[in-house]
Symmetry: C2
């Protein structure tokens, strides 16, 4: 995916507010076709000789990532803040250092609470398929569970 032509230095220092020296903060997604709110992305590790990529995502208060699923997995660690996460048919409140495992083809979404941002690390394969968005029927199935309907409506967890 992302290949840099400059060599990654041995140390990239942590800066205030979850920034890093030499790491660009980008839009969450390159395309604007998928719904999300208030999310940025920083790529912390990506190299042609590394099979995985490590990214840091930050969701602003009351923001959310795209509700989606795909064949590739996510291995997530919450780094800062609080919020809630949909994984399949479960909704979890999350706190720093919690691990979230998103298996293949599992619907998932990250939401920050109203009072603070949510920041998390996400490990993925560098080679991966594109995310799929839910159909109206998928959404009906998800919303049949009251806890998931409340989550998708942004109700405090």
């Amino acid at each position: 995916m992302t290949e840099t032509t400059t060599k990654t230095p041995g140390l990239r220092a942590s800066l205030p507010e979850f920034r890093w020296a030499g790491v660009e903060r980008r839009a969450y997604k390159d395309e604007a076709s998928a719904p999300y709110k208030g999310v940025t992305r920083q790529t912390l590790a990506s190299d042609p000789r590394l099979a995985g990529e490590l990214r840091y995502f930050e969701v602003e208060p009351s923001g959310y990532t795209t509700l989606e699923r795909h064949e590739h997995m996510h291995a997530v660690m919450i780094l800062t803040g609080a919020g809630s996460v949909l994984v399949g048919d479960e909704v979890f409140a999350v706190k720093p250092n919690d691990l979230v495992n998103i298996a293949s083809w599992t619907w998932h979404q990250f939401r920050a609470g109203p009072d603070g941002k949510l920041g998390f690390l996400c490990l993925v394969d560098a080679e991966r398929d594109r995310p799929r968005l839910p159909t109206r029927e998928d959404l009906d199935v998800l919303r049949a569970a009251p806890a998931i309907a409340r989550f998708l409506d942004g109700a405090p967890s």
Copy 2:
């Protein structure tokens, strides 16, 4: 490498002292052939469908990981504490959230300072070569640099 027969749950909660629900704390290395001091390992993400693995290593005060190099890369984020890191011909003092990039065939070692532990996340490829230890000649070359000699002798950074 490590394959678990049980399905990873969606959430594995963070516990005090950098432990996680359902994650075993293990010896740093399976074999005792390589020199190190006071290091434990927890595997936070490892799955047959994931090309990378995410591990958490913790080095006790004045402890150190094995001085080694290998073809595979490491992408590291410091999670807690302080210490110093040798990467090739450079020694860095590190603090939480700093990123350390260890390119192929680069000599590297992590050392905790005398006053507290050093904990860090490490991303590697699941399929990887075995580390190589330095020969006496390699050590002579490394020690020719005074800063590296001081680091290897455990002098405070």
